[in-house]
């Protein structure tokens, strides 16, 4: 590409990918700094997987430019892919062989792998490598996928939905692996639609929606832009007046007003608030409140706002809280 700065491990410019009439990526400009842990988040179908597969030359761009470790994936070939560890989002591996056998084959292709690395990784993730792949659960297959991506300590790790199917303890171990990789100077690019894992691991986040990057910023900056979630409980009779007062508070967006699911005779008001705190307190002063909850800004909250108009606002969408 020529213009690619040495500090960017992955760089795309005006990257488009069409499948027939469907435009999967509509002009992606991305810079993944060397040594960073870079998260790509977006709903299913946003183009995360397509983007990653383009970086590995599994797909070819319709137009635009890509540089991975300074090389166009199309011309980089096997030498480039030897320097990448990839975990596919849809992980399928040969069924009949054992984990050990499969990893041996991959290390023959993409090695060298330092002796003992595979065993150490398998022990950390608690995976039995002797069992045939077909006998492994989804979570254990995912572990095998992680091992084949990490084992040759590539300068770049591209992990598509890496924690899917992993139980919380193994997720913690995975996060530790990512941190270690990062402190070794490896760059990690990971995607998810589950934000909590990005929040803990990534220092920079790009939000992908319908084939475009909606926002790319540091995790801290996104968090700062996020509104607080406010929940107010009041009596049914008081509710209309309170709702009206709240409507005049700058920066407060009412999301939902309805019967409290737990306390009978009570009304629950849900709102997002990114205004000045004294304004809210003034509005609530002297009101007959049954309950007041103000939650810390959540990255998840910030991201959901990019996904769609007030997506996830319903009370049933507890994951957003």
């Amino acid at each position: 590409m020529g213009t690619g700065s040495a500090a960017s491990v992955v760089q795309t410019r005006a990257l488009h990918k069409r499948f027939g009439r469907i435009a999967a990526l509509k002009g992606i400009d991305l810079d993944v700094p060397a040594g960073s842990v870079f998260g790509i988040i977006g709903p299913n179908g946003a183009g995360k997987t397509t983007l990653m597969r383009l970086l590995l030359d599994l797909l070819r761009p319709s137009s635009g430019e890509i540089a991975v470790l300074g090389v166009d994936p199309r011309s980089g070939g096997p030498d480039l892919r030897r320097r990448i560890g990839f975990l596919p989002g849809d992980l399928f591996m040969a069924e009949r062989v054992s984990g050990q056998e499969l990893l041996r084959c991959f290390s023959r292709i993409s090695g060298p792998v330092k002796p003992g690395t595979v065993r150490a990784l398998a022990e950390r993730l608690e995976l039995d490598l002797g069992r045939p792949v077909r006998a492994l659960s989804k979570g254990n297959r995912q572990k095998l996928g992680l091992i084949q991506a990490f084992m040759h300590q590539p300068p770049l790790l591209i992990l598509d939905e890496p924690t899917s199917g992993l139980d919380p303890l193994v997720q913690q171990e995975f996060l530790a692996l990512v941190r270690e990789a990062s402190s070794n100077g490896q760059t990690v690019l990971l995607s998810s639609h589950v934000l909590s894992e990005i929040e803990e691991a990534a220092d920079t986040v790009a939000i992908l929606r319908s084939g475009t990057v909606v926002s790319a910023a540091s995790t801290a900056a996104i968090r700062a832009s996020a509104g607080r979630r406010v929940r107010i409980g009041t009596t049914v009779t008081e509710a209309p007046a309170l709702v009206e007062r709240l409507g005049r508070v700058p920066g407060l967006v009412l999301l939902q007003v309805g019967a409290d699911p737990v306390a009978s005779g009570a009304t629950s008001i849900n709102a997002r608030f990114d205004g000045e705190m004294p304004d809210l307190i003034t509005a609530l002063a002297g009101q007959r409140l049954l309950d007041l909850v103000v939650q810390e800004p959540d990255l998840e909250e910030a991201v959901l706002r990019f996904y769609g108009p007030e997506a996830g606002a319903g009370t049933g969408d507890g994951g957003a809280g």
Partner: protein
């Protein structure tokens, strides 16, 4: 790092099925070949006389009363052809299209291997397997040669095996190439079966009438067995056509896989 990692992997995973195929071939050979002495007599000759001549030529039974003709008609041209074709079609279909549809191709190609290398190594693995089956077939036929009074010339047996392997190789690589173009198992399967069955049928039709003789040059089945390798020895022109086309198909597969998206 070893050379040919995919070739090695592919062969390592296939020794068990290979033993199965060998057992099947041996079973068929031991069923048919020992019957020859009892069929070579006058009674059988009379039976053949009573069959419609079109049927005789369609089945290639014209020379059933020589050892070579019998071995050709029962095994090489019929059951052996079917067994080798089934093996070839299944291996050729799985090599690319099958792995792509099952999703395993994606992870392999994300590693440090080029698509051309993948096609070449996997075709080599198919060729190696068919070669092993062919060698086994040749040895088995030679073991039966004397006890079954077939009177086969050993070099002609190997010529027949080379033709059978070449025919299967061509079929396998049709599946491989169709899979490399389409990524779809059903296309790979359909293309290979069309070539194998179509070739056999076209040959049978062309046998019926000297006016249709020109059709022979379009059928791989005739390239393999038209010159009667078991009776007359190696048909170098036919073998060149089989192995040459097979090589072209592999190159075509490599070209096709190299220029498209994987797993879409």
């Amino acid at each position: 790092m070893s050379r040919l990692p995919l070739f090695t992997r592919s062969l390592a995973g296939s020794w068990r099925p290979l033993l199965g195929w060998a057992a099947g071939i041996l079973a068929v050979l031991s069923l048919y070949l020992p019957l020859y002495p009892s069929l070579a007599g006058q009674d059988f000759q009379d039976l053949l006389q009573s069959l419609p001549s079109e049927l005789i030529s369609a089945l290639g039974y014209d020379q059933l009363t020589t050892g070579a003709g019998y071995t050709q008609s029962t095994f090489f041209g019929l059951i052996g052809f079917v067994l080798f074709t089934i093996a070839a079609v299944s291996w050729g279909t799985r090599a690319i299209a099958g792995d792509e549809e099952s999703g395993t191709l994606e992870l392999v190609l994300a590693h440090a291997v080029s698509r051309v290398q993948l096609v070449l190594e996997r075709s080599a693995a198919i060729a190696a397997r068919l070669l092993l089956l062919g060698l086994f077939t040749g040895l088995a036929v030679l073991v039966f040669n004397r006890p079954a009074q077939l009177g086969l010339v050993p070099s002609h047996v190997w010529a027949g095996c080379a033709a059978l392997i070449g025919l299967a190789l061509l079929t396998a690589f049709v599946a491989l190439a169709a899979g490399a173009f389409s990524g779809r198992r059903v296309w790979a399967l359909a293309a290979a079966v069309a070539v194998a069955v179509g070739g056999y049928a076209l040959n049978a039709v062309a046998n019926q009438n000297p006016d249709l003789d020109y059709l022979h040059s379009w059928t791989p089945y005739y390239w393999a067995f038209g010159a009667g390798p078991l009776s007359n020895g190696a048909d170098w022109a036919g073998l060149t056509a089989l192995y040459g086309t097979s090589t072209l198909l592999v190159l075509l597969a490599a070209f096709a896989l190299n220029r498209r998206d994987i797993g879409t």
